[in-house]
Symmetry: C2
Subunit: 248 residues, 2 copies
């Protein structure tokens, strides 16, 4: 467990119990004012600097954030073939993913200044699908946000089970998220009586929130590209969501 | 033409040329900083105090706003039977509605401090359907926002024709907007390559943004109700949309 302070944000690496791996906690200056807290789940690349940067941004906005590692050995790679293997391994063990999220919630509730009724989870790409799935299984999250994540599921949200509000930011030109998944999500969440906010950005493709996406897409000939407007608008929508909870 | 000043917002009733009726202009203290301007289209009740209050709120936020009257004789009523007649009459003359919107854009472009490339149109109920339809016909609006408006159309948006970004705030329990209209809108806007932001609020019904909706619904046994959370969240999304344009 190491700690360092940068730009008034405390960064602290935590070992989770029960061999659940690690997570990195980010928090602003301690305060007793109760505020939301946010679990951040990384892209299929693993818990790299990008996912950490998002958690840090949340801390800079005044929220406690936990960048949670969903990969067993803390694997990280820049190569899509490795990333695919890591992701498949994680997805093959949903009980462990669930345990990680449950533990992350416990960790956040132990932090001073966290509003226990306002734990959120956000994710990118693989992580977006993970947080949506956590919402569907009825985890007591106030809200989830998926950025360029897969939207389909074999276990749709059920009315009365799902508790989280849902924010989905999607590139309408993302070939990993077919149009039917988008309309399917609208139907699913309406039927489950869940507040859905959908941002569907025209001519925007996978990875739009990650400034490194364009270079990576070119390197590996993949349909990835950063889009500053979509990034900015979807981040603002997330901050609005957290701000509303804070005002309650 | 009369003018009055209240809370630092100037209110001015304008007679439009060509017998197009009236509109009420709201603006904050004059400034040469270029900012977006917004056309506001009323509910089926007509251009009442509610529609005007929204235009005033936009002026208080620093934007020039024009509350546009879509009814020939400036009809206003509290009774749904009258409102239905007014609305049907307006809808039967789409050319005149188009002319009103075109003229409203000209009026806004004549105002000091208006960014000519950032004219928006928003509407409530009937007005929401009107502004969506204006976007579909390719009016050079930067964006439109519909609050509890009907979403269906016989003339869907066409790629390359529609220019406006679209924000739709909808009550998922609004019986006037069937679920198929919501998924249809998502498909329509994706196919037309338009940025869509959809807020679909669970257990929220028609008229949710209007604080007077609940009483009116009870009076006339209609499925109308105010919802403070949906009102607040959707208004913030509109302000975000305008704020993004301003930053460009």
């Amino acid at each position: 467990m190491g700690a360092s302070v940068q730009a008034e944000v405390l960064e602290q690496t935590l070992s989770l119990p029960d061999n659940l791996g690690t997570a990195v906690l980010y928090r602003a200056a301690a305060s007793d004012e109760l505020k939301p807290a946010v679990i951040v789940v990384h892209e299929w690349w693993g818990l790299n600097d990008y996912a950490k940067s998002r958690a840090r941004m949340l801390a800079e906005a005044g929220y406690t954030a936990l960048a949670l590692n969903m990969y067993d050995e803390g694997e990280v790679s820049d190569h899509p073939e490795n990333a695919k293997l890591f992701m498949q391994k994680a997805l093959a063990n949903p009980k462990q993913m669930n345990a990680r999220v449950d533990t992350a919630m416990l960790v956040l509730r132990q932090q001073r200044g966290v509003n226990n009724n306002a734990i959120y989870a956000i994710g990118y790409c693989f992580g977006g699908a993970v947080v949506l799935q956590q919402a569907r299984r009825g985890v007591n999250l106030a809200g989830v946000a998926s950025f360029h994540g897969s939207l389909g599921t074999e276990t749709p949200a059920q009315k009365g089970v799902i508790k989280a509000k849902v924010l989905v930011a999607n590139g309408a030109a993302d070939p990993f998220v077919p149009a039917e998944q988008v309309t399917g999500l609208v139907q699913e969440m309406a039927a489950a009586e869940v507040d859905l906010q959908l941002m569907n950005f025209a001519n925007v493709t996978h990875g739009f929130s990650n400034p490194g996406a364009t270079a990576k897409g070119q390197k590996y000939n993949m349909p990835l590209a950063y889009d500053a407007a979509a990034d900015k608008a979807s981040w603002q929508a997330l901050l609005d969501m957290l701000g509303r909870e804070q005002a309650n």
